[in-house]
């Protein structure tokens, strides 16, 4: 499951946000990928659409790296499973 959510993020980041695949790693920060806070909100909307998990506003503030966002989505999927 972990690999799948990460792969989903990776696909969205490359296809929708145009981030080169080589720059994407779990520990990569959104700031380093030149994505600002509005971009991250947009990203969570796409993730919600594809995975069906919504990241709340207060959770957004804790997201720094791709792994942070993946972890929130995974936790929510486990709870709902």
């Amino acid at each position: 499951m972990a690999a799948n959510i990460y792969e989903t993020f990776k696909a969205i980041l490359t296809e929708t946000f145009g981030v080169p695949e080589a720059e994407i790693a779990p520990e990569a920060t959104f700031e380093a990928l030149a994505l600002d806070s509005l971009d991250v909100v947009e990203l969570t909307l796409v993730v919600d659409e594809e995975v069906g998990v919504k990241i709340e506003d207060e959770e957004l503030e804790t997201i720094v790296t791709i792994a942070d966002a993946v972890a929130i989505v995974e936790t929510k999927l486990k709870v709902s499973a």
Partner: protein, 425 residues
């Protein structure tokens, strides 16, 4: 003839940037306009939406991310893309950037706190509205993009040019509908006269060819129903029946003559005069006698300190609508009297279509290029002049003639009028 110019009243053009349906870049646009080749074409996207009119004048295709950097396509509306392309060219032409290092960043040639930006746009981010509202309706409020507001705001183009260039002078966007580009040049020039800036990036931008906007203009009866793209836009022609929607950006770098001299920049032309007025008449129709247009032209001449006889070329608003072209023609005759016979009048909208809020910026740039090259482009699409149009309208091919003082007219819905007088440097 009086000349009221003082040092700071003397404002010159030192850079030109154009993105028009005739081409990307000032040279490509100007060559297309001088050749008199209509840029209108059948539009696949409009045809798929089954809009009442499916002819439009689009800017040639380009890749926003490749041209303007990663994320530009997603983060910025098309009107901002067009403005950035034109601004980049104008800044390079003015020698204010080092293109090798960064094509937008102002160099030490200027004090960036004294570089202002004044753009005109009639609509702003039309495509963003067109894309986002259906998403709101289909997927609900929770799926509305956080990018919607910054993308669609009509001041985003000017704001983005500042972000990229570092220009921290006054930064504003003016809307007088189809006169917006000319109004922006007027107000940007005033910033320099008032001492609020040394240099101002001025002009107009529009990217409004959406199914919704085209349908709305068609429902008003403003668009040509002619299905032949080569003659759909035919300003001053007896068979004209409306305008063709266009898109693009026309941006100039203007500065005080003193500032240009100090940094060794070569002036291409002068923004000698500007005049603005309102018809106070009707939301979309001009008064039959062109009253507001007459005021704008007379004010621009007075502002330039020129008599009507000094003007040798008019780049007309000339939209190709029955009402505008007739009223503008009467207004020109009223202002210039017999001298109108000695003025080469043209409407470059025969080539470009009507660029709405960008038109004034683009046509001011064409006026500057007419002075530079001493040539008046033909009015494309004009086969038989309407007998009601009692003017020397250049048709067929470009005319080589002495061009030292040009009047450029722009009239907006709402009855808002702007005229500029541009003279040789």
């Amino acid at each position: 003839m009086t000349d009221a110019r003082t040092h700071t009243n003397d404002v010159v053009v030192t850079g030109i940037g154009l993105v028009t349906p005739a081409g990307i870049g000032a040279n490509a646009s100007w060559e297309g306009v001088v050749a008199g080749k209509a840029a209108a074409a059948h539009d696949q996207a409009l045809a798929e939406e089954d809009t009442p009119v499916t002819i439009a004048c689009r800017v040639p295709a380009f890749d926003p991310d490749a041209e303007l950097g990663r994320g530009s396509a997603r983060r910025l509306d098309r009107f901002t893309h067009l403005a950035l392309l034109a601004a980049r060219e104008a800044l390079a032409d003015a020698g204010l950037v080092d293109a090798e290092t960064d094509p937008f960043a102002l160099t030490g040639a200027v004090d960036r706190d004294r570089v202002g930006i004044l753009l005109g746009s009639g609509i702003g981010g039309a495509e963003t509205w067109a894309e986002e509202y259906p998403r709101y309706l289909d997927k609900g409020p929770q799926r509305v993009s956080p990018m919607f507001v910054p993308k669609m705001l009509s001041n985003t183009a000017a704001g983005t040019i500042a972000i990229r260039s570092g220009a921290r002078g006054p930064n504003m966007t003016v809307n007088t509908a189809c006169a917006a580009g000319a109004s922006a040049i007027h107000l940007g020039r005033d910033l320099i006269r008032a001492g609020s800036a040394d240099v101002v990036i001025v002009g107009g931008v529009e990217a409004g060819i959406t199914g919704l906007a085209v349908s709305a203009f068609a429902q008003m009866g403003a668009l040509s129903k002619n299905s032949d793209p080569t003659t759909a836009s035919r300003p001053f022609d007896v068979g004209r029946d409306g305008f063709v929607m266009g898109e693009g950006a026309g941006i100039l770098v203007i500065e005080s003559a003193e500032h240009a001299a100090r940094r060794g920049a070569t002036p291409i032309a002068r923004i000698a005069g500007a005049g603005a007025s309102a018809d106070a008449h009707h939301a979309t129709a001009p008064p039959e006698d062109g009253g507001g247009a007459i005021l704008a032209m007379r004010r621009a001449l007075a502002d330039a300190g020129l008599e009507p006889e000094a003007i040798d070329h008019i780049n007309a608003h000339g939209t190709s609508t029955p009402l505008n072209d007739a009223a503008e023609s009467r207004a020109i005759r009223a202002v210039f009297g017999e001298h109108a016979d000695a003025i080469a009048v043209t409407s470059t909208k025969g080539v470009t279509g009507h660029l709405l809020g960008a038109a004034g910026g683009v046509e001011a740039a064409f006026a500057v290029l007419s002075i530079r090259d001493q040539v008046v482009p033909p009015t494309a699409g004009l086969l038989e002049r309407d007998p009601e149009i009692d003017l020397d309208v250049v048709a067929g091919s470009a005319r080589t003639s002495a061009v030292n003082a040009v009047l450029s007219n722009s009239f907006g819905f709402g009855g808002q009028n702007a005229s500029l007088v541009i003279t040789s440097a």
